[in-house]
């Protein structure tokens, strides 16, 4: 069939996208901050708080959460075409719009993660807080660490799911229009959160504990990814067509196919590396080689999370309901 269109907009043309890398980075950093918030809560609550004793990640991770989230929000702000109208997001509640959920959810997540960071800051580091009222607040919030941790956990899970729901709600884009996508994005968010926790933790027990957790999360991702593609392949023609960029090694879709190949290589390697790490004896300090391996596998997981966001955001816009 030969098709000529008079009056076509650039945006309807497949090689020009609606959303670009800024949205991909927003989804990745939003997921990372959500995953790290959940992991920071787990670190504080696990074994009645015994795991966090003597571990700087107990306060570094909660500080990083709003910082990473802020950078992510900066990217979505940069993507808005009419930035001065951004206040309308907070004058409207549209329960059917995932972007509306997100803007309100982030408005809740930001202060909650900030308060949690204050509550987890050790007394001897209160001098970091320049203002006296902040120091007093940090002191008072210690009493509410448990409820704050629970709220932080809940909001973190919500944001992790939201990053997937944002894409999956579009019937017009078959690649995104899957109920597995929010679950995959949540698992990926938790996995990259655990990976970052491994990188910033200083004690062996915490590094190994999160390594064990990340093994399960990577395993879950490795199950969900093929299930997602299987679900798409066995669905309608448009859904089947939507995943083809990932499996067609033509020059047009080379980026997607290579990304998928990288994903199917780095996740198993990271998994094997992590399994070897927990089998090794770590009586004293971790050897430099063991640290390098741990950080390398964590970087692989972070890279995998970024690849998932980049490829899914771009490839979804190539897909079309027919």
């Amino acid at each position: 069939m030969e098709l000529t269109v008079t009056g076509i907009n650039a945006l309807t043309s497949p090689h020009l996208h609606i959303w670009d890398w800024r949205v991909s980075l927003y989804l990745f950093l939003g997921g990372l901050s959500a995953g790290l918030a959940v992991m920071a809560t787990v670190l504080h609550l696990r074994k009645g708080g015994a795991l966090v004793k003597g571990e700087p990640a107990g306060y570094i991770a909660p500080i990083l959460v709003p910082v990473i989230l802020g950078i992510g929000m900066l990217f979505i702000f940069l993507d808005l075409e009419r930035k001065l109208n951004v206040y309308w997001l907070y004058l409207t509640v549209n329960p059917l719009s995932p972007m509306s959920w997100g803007s309100w959810g982030l408005l809740l997540f930001f202060p909650v993660s900030g308060l949690f960071a204050l509550a987890t800051l050790p007394d001897d580091l209160h001098h970091w807080l320049m203002l006296e009222p902040l120091k007093k607040l940090a002191g008072r919030l210690k009493e509410y660490l448990f409820p704050l941790a629970i709220i932080n956990f809940g909001v973190g899970i919500f944001i992790g799911i939201y990053t997937g729901v944002l894409l999956s709600s579009f019937v017009a884009r078959p690649l995104w229009n899957s109920a597995i996508l929010p679950v995959l994005f949540l698992t990926s968010a938790l996995s990259v959160g655990a990976a970052l926790m491994i990188m910033i933790a200083r004690t062996n027990k915490v590094k190994l504990w999160f390594t064990k957790m990340d093994i399960w999360l990577i395993f879950a991702e490795m199950v969900q990814l093929p299930l997602f593609f299987y679900g798409q392949y066995t669905s309608s023609g448009a859904h089947r067509e939507s995943i083809m960029p990932f499996f067609t090694l033509s020059h047009e879709y080379f980026f997607y196919s290579i990304s998928m190949l990288v994903l199917f290589v780095i996740f198993p390697i990271a998994l094997v590396m992590k399994m070897l790490e927990i089998k090794e004896e770590h009586d004293g300090n971790l050897t430099p080689l063991a640290l390098v391996k741990m950080n390398l596998s964590a970087i692989m997981v972070l890279l995998g999370g970024l690849i998932i966001r980049l490829t899914f955001v771009y490839a979804g816009q190539l897909s079309k309901f027919t």
Partner: protein, 186 residues
């Protein structure tokens, strides 16, 4: 209250593109951007060829995904007549509506930044006129009117021939109907 709809009688389209030009002129659509388009689809093998001409525009859906996905309420469906419109002062240009539309009927106006689309020439309707594309259509392929009025041109056109809508499976319940030139594939 009227229930506005459009019928595209594909049998009468001559692909003159006057609708595309009239729309751009009427609505001051920026260069290289469009609210409506005409598809020319040539199928078959020479000499057994056939061509389908299809005008496309915003379908003013009764179940509009662009409205549901708008986080600021900028996109809305006017209850009085069912036209899907945009409050430009509220639009943040997040592009959720552009991604949500299965008809690719929306675009970001690159001069002003909002998510623009066809309004059925709402400003002309207020003056009692037809949309610009309908008024200019020399083949009378574009037909506009009130679905609730049995004497309106759209009701007459829909009564006279079998019609269909685009992407019915998307569940959007469009208000742009198509009377096809070819009833079934060759």
């Amino acid at each position: 209250m009227p229930k506005y709809a459009m019928v595209i009688d594909q049998r009468r389209c001559v692909a003159c593109m006057a609708c595309v030009i009239a729309c751009k002129n009427e609505n001051e659509v920026p260069p290289e951007q469009y609210r409506t388009r005409v598809l020319e689809m040539v199928e078959g093998e020479f000499p057994l060829l056939r061509m389908e001409l299809r005008s496309e525009l915003c379908n003013h859906c009764d179940n509009p995904p662009c409205v549901y996905n708008c986080p600021t309420g900028a996109s809305y469906k006017r209850t009085a007549d069912g036209i899907v419109l945009l409050r430009k002062n509220r639009c943040v240009g997040c592009k959720a509506c552009v991604a949500a539309c299965p008809y690719d009927a929306r675009y970001i106006n690159h001069e002003k930044g909002f998510a623009d689309k066809c309004t059925f020439c709402d400003h002309r309707l207020k003056e009692g006129k037809e949309p610009a594309c309908v008024a200019t259509c020399i083949g009378k392929s574009r037909i506009f009117g009130d679905l609730d009025d049995p004497k309106s041109p759209v009701r007459i056109a829909l009564r006279s021939a079998d019609s269909t809508v685009l992407l019915e499976g998307a569940g959007t319940r469009p208000r742009v109907y198509y009377i096809k030139k070819f009833s079934k594939p060759e």
